[in-house]
Amino acid sequence: MSETWMIAGAWIAAGLTIFLFSFLYKDNPFFKIAEHLYLGAGMGWWFQVYVYNILGPKVWTPLVVNHDWMVLIPAVLGISLVTQFIPKISWISRYGFTFLMGYGSGLAIPASLSTDFINQIGGTIKPLSMMASMTPFAIFNSLLIAFGVVCVLFYFFFSVEHKGHVKTVSNIGIYFLMIYFGAAFGNTVMARFSLLYGRFDDLYTFSDKHYFYASQLIMLAMVVYFLVHNFMGKDKKEVTEDEAAG
């Protein structure tokens, strides 16, 4: 990749980043352009992933090179989905959807049972069987998890009315849920902020002389745009008010 392409890339990346950040001030055409570009680029990216990683090696090559006709079955089921656009024969798309639903459901049962059900119960109970070799703090932690899981399950158990002791236990379950939600929220915030630091870091890199001050110049252009737009908007508003008064 030549130096010119790298500099052009830096200008495009800095421009698109600043266009999207400009939404924090207010909605504007540059944000909308970047937003629509993102939509198109995202679809383009996944299009090439599906073409070069799935349709090429899993449909085209087996069919044309290896003459594996079995591949025609999922291909036809897949094509059937597109009949959704023709109302008269849209029922054909059911064949593709039912395959996806059948396979997905058949896979979801053992996967959910092993990872989300049995493993979670096992993880809660197993430490309780090893208490003899655990420190007092580890025993406390194991009991805390077991107690918390039972309380949370009581909160989600609607077959008995939540009153008396059941209500007390389910209320304690809410506190465990709140700790989890708080922790998940904190993690999400920090993940978003790390992305933000990454964008600032890129803007800082592209503000270098080597990139012809891409970040500063684009930001300056955006500021000028907003100033001009604001003043013109004010003038237009005054003219409209004068016309209304006149």
Partner: protein, 222 residues
């Protein structure tokens, strides 16, 4: 007609659902091969499902341009963005890197898709902060617990927070990293496990309902 439109699709769900479920528990080469084949088939059908979405998106933006509705010009950028990724992909046969370094597709990914995607999610940081202000107005003890858990997690992951913790709560002997680790490993796990067990039961029940044709909303109307 009812047979073709309704009963055969329901039979497909049942047959593929039951075969996949049974194959998972049979430790035999044939069932392993079957699962591999099903996985490949699912990938292929899912790829076509993506094309369904793509055609729908293109049609929606095409009709905006054709009818010249407000802001129709922005719809052109959907096509430009799409071509900015697909044309280099065709040129480089879907490869991001070659012996000479980054290809045209790699360039498009690094300088168009990646900045757009990362910035779009980074913007959410600002909105999350404003949401946090609203949700952290402590109205009850439960909201306070949520606030404390989130606050410790956020505080502990920035150097300034670690300095504040050491100077205020340093006497306890527990570092903020240890406290975060304890929250994530024990009380938060208890909450998460309760939810996961609930989700698993829900997923299993819904899957059985789909396999046996009790739940059939995905088939649409007749």
């Amino acid at each position: 007609m009812k047979l073709i439109k309704k009963q055969i699709p329901l039979a497909i769900v049942f047959v593929f659902g039951v075969l996949t479920l049974i194959s998972y528990y049979i430790p035999h080469k044939k069932s392993v091969d079957f699962m591999e084949m099903m996985n490949k088939w699912e990938n292929i059908v899912a790829a076509f499902a993506f094309f369904l979405g793509l055609i729908s998106l293109f049609y929606s933006h095409y009709s905006k341009i054709a009818r010249k509705v407000d802001g129709w010009g922005y719809s052109l950028f959907v096509y430009i963005g799409f071509l900015a990724m697909v044309v280099p992909a065709i040129y480089c046969h879907g490869k991001q890197m070659d012996a000479a370094g980054k290809t045209a597709l790699g360039w498009s990914f690094s300088f168009i898709y990646n900045p757009l995607s990362a910035t779009m999610f980074a913007i959410l940081a600002f909105y999350i902060v404003s949401t946090a202000y609203r949700s952290f107005r402590i109205k009850s003890l439960q909201a306070f617990v949520l606030f404390v858990a989130a606050f410790i997690l956020i505080l502990g992951k920035v150097p300034l927070g670690q300095i504040i913790w050491t100077s205020v709560l340093g006497w306890t002997g527990a570092g903020v990293d240890q406290v975060i680790d304890w929250i994530m490993s024990y009380p938060a796990v208890a909450g998460k496990r309760g939810i996961m067990i609930g989700i698993a039961i829900g997923a299993v029940v819904t899957s059985f309902k789909i396999i046996f044709g009790i739940e059939r909303q995905y088939m649409g109307k007749d």
